[in-house]
Every structure is written in structure tokens, then in C-alpha cells.
């Protein structure tokens, strides 16, 4: 089995407002990708690109408008309200909000064990919890009976990972797991993903806007823009030689922590803030430096260029080889 999870043509349209008025927003549009076993796959993009909505659909927190989610070869049906949570677990952006501030953190561990019947008695439960906590560099003693505000953001995020490990999942969905964790502690989380992959054979769906950690940790990456995947391939290919004009722009704008490599050139922001939910054509056409007439007319197809998927007319039209 080379696909642990596959997402096919996933589309989510939100309807806002009351009966008399509907606004339709396409959060994800025909998104397809797959994750292999023991792989770290990154879904990257700016805010509002649809990456979190994709994660929510995979977790069953949102119902897709169209498309299929296939886990271990099994199609997800609508009836399973909260889907195979044993096989798939998740951690979220805000470590301080992950646990109820009025309850001790260990309650969630015991509840997980109880609800999924993972241990017969308290003693085996504590052993199980301690084992999972050790895997993230903590221990039962320094955690039992404490409230969330007694931990730092980095610790909470690791506790959150330990909780998700209780059910021995095969896939961990991590939605912006380090964006609210201090830079000096980020690596302790990101390195954990590598450890989960290498030691437990787990896969991680890493959702982030931070391309530097994405490069560091992941195997393959998909860049999303306004609900579409515009480029997908290995991180070496996508981030070191970006092909899509959007990826190139994104890559150029990242402030690198190296004073010798400062930003060169200028960006024109007035251009970037134009309405980009065009009815037809490529959504990046409004500010693409390589824009052609066809870009404004037709949605580009997914083109394979050296094993990299690129959604750009410049490649299909042969403008760039």
C-alpha cells in the first residue's frame, strides 16, 4: 500500500448568510493529493488559501461539498461523524487553547484511554501515558494534576502530541503547530515529527505557512493558493527551484535569518491586494509577472514537470520548458 491517505477532488463551498441571501465562498477547489506511509507531507500557503479547511475535512469537522477522502483504501462515508479518530489524530495551532483551562491536562489522557478502551485499569493507563509522554521528552510525574497554565507553549504542544499518540495513529495532522511557539522551542516540536516518522513509521500532514520549517522537516510539499494546489513535489524541487510564479514570489519574500541574504528588489502590494476570486482563469493572473491572455480565460491544467505538479499555463503552453 503506497497511499495511506488520499484526497480526491476535494471541494468545499461555504454558504454564508440567511435564507434570503447566500454568499458562496469556495474554500478549497478540486484539491487532490495523497500521503504515503511514513512520510511528512506539507500543505503550505498563506492565510485563507484553504489549507486548514482541508485538514478539517479530513478530520471530519467539516463536510466536503464534493470529493472523496480515502484512508487505507477505505472511502469515508458521511455517517461516520467523527471519522476514524483512532487512525488519524490531530494537534492544533494554539497550544494554550488545546486544553480546557479549568481542567487538569491529564484528564484528557484518561478520557482518551477510557473512550477508546486502551487500558484495563488505572495502572496500565498510567504506564501507557508515561510511555507516550517519554516519547515527547516529558514524564508522567511532571505532568499529573497540573493545569494548562502551568506549562509553556512548547510543553503544551508536546503534551498535545503525546495525547494524540495514545491511540497509536498512523497519521498525525498538525495544523500550524509551531506558529504560536517561540522560535527557540520550535525545533523541539518539528524534530518530534521526524522522530515519529523514523521511529514509529507514522505519517504527518504538516500544515504551515512557514516554508523554512517545511523545508527542514518534510519530504513532499504542496503549495496552495486561493483554494488550489498550484505546485506539488519534493521540498528540494519545489522550494529550491520553484516553478510556479506564485511559489517563486513566495519563496523570494521569506525573510531569511541571514543578513547576507536580504530582500532584493521591491514588491508592489497594491497589486497583490486586488480581488483574486476571479470567475474564470488562473487566480494568480491578477498579479502574475508572466501573465498571458489565456491565463485570464481558462483555469490551467495540472502539468507534470520533472515529477513536479505545476498548475500554470506557462508550462502547458510551452512558454517555459
Amino acid at each position: 500500500m503506497d497511499k495511506l491517505l488520499e484526497v480526491k477532488n476535494l471541494t468545499k463551498v461555504f454558504s454564508l448568510g440567511s435564507i434570503s441571501s447566500r454568499i458562496r465562498i469556495t474554500a478549497t477547489d478540486d484539491v487532490s493529493f495523497y500521503i504515503k506511509p511514513a512520510e511528512i507531507f506539507t500543505l503550505a500557503g498563506e492565510s485563507g488559501c484553504g489549507k486548514t479547511t482541508t485538514a478539517k475535512m479530513i478530520l471530519g469537522f467539516e463536510e466536503p461539498t464534493a470529493g472523496a477522502i480515502i484512508h487505507k483504501g477505505k472511502l469515508r462515508t458521511k455517517k461516520e461523524k467523527v471519522w476514524f479518530t483512532e487512525g488519524i489524530q490531530a494537534i492544533f495551532q494554539d497550544p494554550f487553547g488545546t486544553f480546557n483551562p479549568l481542567r487538569t491536562v491529564d484528564r484528557y489522557f484518561f478520557e482518551t484511554i477510557q473512550n477508546f478502551k486502551l487500558a484495563g485499569n488505572k495502572k496500565t493507563a498510567v504506564e501507557l501515558i508515561d510511555r507516550k509522554l517519554k516519547a515527547v521528552g516529558l514524564s508522567y510525574e511532571e505532568f499529573a494534576g497540573k493545569y494548562p497554565n502551568e506549562f509553556s507553549g512548547g510543553q503544551l504542544q508536546r503534551i498535545s502530541i503525546a495525547r494524540s499518540l495514545l491511540t497509536d495513529p498512523t497519521l498525525l495532522i498538525a495544523d500550524e503547530p509551531v506558529s504560536m511557539v517561540d522560535a527557540s522551542l520550535r525545533m523541539s516540536i518539528v524534530n518530534l515529527f521526524k522522530k515519529l516518522k523514523e521511529e514509529f513509521g507514522m505519517s504527518v500532514l504538516y500544515i504551515t505557512h512557514d516554508l523554512a520549517t517545511a523545508y527542514y522537516v518534510s519530504d513532499r510539499i504542496a503549495i496552495m493558493f486561493r483554494g488550489n494546489i498550484v505546485e506539488m513535489g519534493t521540498v528540494e524541487q519545489v522550494l529550491m527551484q520553484p516553478r510556479h510564479p506564485y511559489t517563486q514570489m513566495l519563496r523570494d519574500s521569506i525573510p531569511e535569518a541571514d543578513p547576507r541574504r536580504r530582500w532584493r528588489g521591491r514588491v508592489n502590494l497594491n497589486e497583490t491586494e486586488r480581488e483574486e476570486y476571479l470567475k474564470q482563469g488562473c487566480r494568480y493572473a491578477g498579479r502574475c509577472p508572466l501573465v498571458m491572455d489565456v491565463c485570464r480565460q481558462e483555469v490551467p491544467a495540472d502539468i507534470q514537470v520533472d515529477n513536479v505538479l505545476v498548475k500554470c499555463h506557462n508550462y502547458s503552453e510551452g512558454v517555459i520548458a
Binding site: T85, A90, Q93, G97, T98, F99, E111, N115
Partner: protein
Amino acid sequence: MKVLRDLLRDYRFTASFIILCILLAYSSLSFFSPIDPTVWVAIARDQPPSSQHLLGTDSRGIDIFWSGAFAIRNSLIVALVAGVVSRFITIPVAMLAGYKGGMTDRVLMFISDSFLVIPLFLIIVLLAVLIRENLSLVTLGLLLACFGWAWDARVIRSEILSLRERGFTQTAILSGSGTMQLALKEYMPFVTPLVFATLINVMAWAIGLEITLAILGLIKLDIPTLGTMIFWALSYQAILLGRWYWLLTPVILSVLLFIALYWLSVSSSEYLDPRSRIQRVGQSLRA
């Protein structure tokens, strides 16, 4: 004990606590009352306060001190029935609307908004006019409970709505918690202070309405309550005839009760509200 000590730092809590203790002690005297406050002219009428009749007697020949004790007890019974029973409507409605959202939420909130918007007083009067003989303490309490849940349901629902968006809701779902578990374990700790504070408000509201309805002659008038005491004092022209002690007793008792209940609600909800408390501590520590 520590909680009580912390609360007593607030002058409003201290004052309301003391007033309520005194009023409760006074009303519990009614269990040992030497007189039956529903029997007329058992003793001399219109006596001014004296050592024998601490607050005098009224024109019906009833001791005012003792009927005051009964009045507080009975008014509190109405308030408690209205307050507690209305919680059984408020909490499920709020939880359901807040958690389910969508159509359920819209329908439930439309109903509660209608209750808020319509001049309830008139509807209650309309009902009371029709059932006035049967309007005993408990029926009155139940009647008020049917009308006193809407505002609180709205308040609690918006709390649930914001809790539903917090990260720990998702953590609980991923931990395999069902809807009931979520409501009881995750949301109840946040909602309890609100339930308590709104309970006290509903109680005060119920006592106020009891008084108003009684003055309009719309409840059983032979039960001594704060309202019926005022009703009788008014109908016997107590002010014009200089029998101030008759009217003043229920008026002062009810004012004390209202202030005590309100201050208790304000001070305890300020203390208990976990959001403001955590925010205060959290903010200062993050600095």
C-alpha cells in the same frame, strides 16, 4: 473557606451575605411562630409597635413581625421555584442552541427572542386574571419559571457558542468524547457561574413580579407574602391613617432583599467568572 475569604474582600458580597443571613434567620423564625398569619382578628387590631408586638399589629388583627417572617419565607419559595425550575429550561435550550447551531439554534433563539420582545408582564397578568384563585406559591413560581428563562438562555448560549470554537472542544472530540461528555465536562465549568448569577437575577425578578401581581390583587391574597402585605396595607389606607409600621415593614424587607440578591449576584459572578479571572492572571503574567 479560601473562596469565602476571597469573596469577603468585596464589600458588596460582605453586605449581601450579612443581610441575607439576617433575613434568612428572620424568616426561619416563622417555623416557630406562635400565631397563624392567615387568621384574622385573633389579637387586638392596629396596635403600634410595642414589646408585645415588636412591629405592631395590622387592621386585620395580625401581628406584623410574624407575618413579615412568613412573608419573606413565602416570597423566597416563589423565587426559588421560579429560579430553579427555569434553569431546567434555560440550560438545555442554551446548550442545544449553542452546540448544535444551524437551524436548531435559529429556531430556539427565535423563541427566546420572542419571549424577550413581547411585554411579558401583560401576558402574565392575562394569565393571572384567569387563574387567580389557583395561584398558590408554587403555581406562581412555575408560571414565572415559564417566562423567566429566555434572557439567560441567550447569555449562556453565546458562551457555549464561543466555547465551541475553542481548541479544547476539538481536543475533546479527538479524545473520543461524545456530545453529553462535552457538555458536562468541558462546558459546565464555564457555564456554572453564569447559571448561578442568572439564577439570582431571576429570583429577584420573581420576587418583584410577585409583589406587583399581589398589589394588583392577582394572587391568593390570604397567603402572607411581601406583596400581599403591601396589598392589605394599601387597601386599609395604612399611609393615610398613620400606620406607617404596617406598610414600611414589607417595603423595607423587600428593598433589603433586592439589594442583597443583586449584590450577591454581581460580586459572585465577578469572582466566579472564569474568563475574567483567568484573563486577569494570564495577562499580568504574560506582561
